[in-house]
Amino acid sequence: MKILYFARISEELGKNQELLIIKDKLKIIDVINILKSKDERYSLVFKKISNIKFAINCEYATKNDYITNNDELAIFPPVTGG
């Protein structure tokens, strides 16, 4: 799957996107846990996810929604446009 990061999260991770291959489908929270296991930087950024928003293919999603390799997952802070 393609994972996109924006704003503070992109800045803190030092990247704005990456690819992650999973088996079948996973909940977003499981994807977050895989990322957290990769290195300390992810653990710090995703330590508290209550203030982080998720979107699957441009639709807002929750941490318990399922995602597959064909999806685009976006991870970002609450928006502040306008």
Partner: protein
Amino acid sequence: MKIYFQKKDFNLSKELNNFSKKNKKVGSIISFVGKVRPFNNNKKIESMEIDCYKKMALYQTEKIIDILISKGDIVDYQVIHRFGKLFPSENIILILVASKHRKEGFFFIEKLIEWFKSKITFWKKEFYLNSSTWLKSQK
């Protein structure tokens, strides 16, 4: 009926004039311009960086606009939201709306701005003299 997400500035009078000429048979045209303020939380803003997820922003903007125009009183609209590096007093957003009556036009702008503050994927970072911060959501 157009939505633009762009780095470059817009010319307010030109956009308003063109929009007005295009919509001769309506009862109301309302414009809203959001600008970079010079101060925030007692700190002088040197510049602002706006990040955006364009594909989702377009999808979410179209989604709320579809809901807002489904009632049939909105005749035309134009939305421009900038991203990238901006400076105090520069334009951030322009919303133009043409409607049969003013009430629907004000409602359209109010609701669309609410979505920009809660759903549409733009993020602002303010730069001060010796520090910077990503703004926190008002929602």
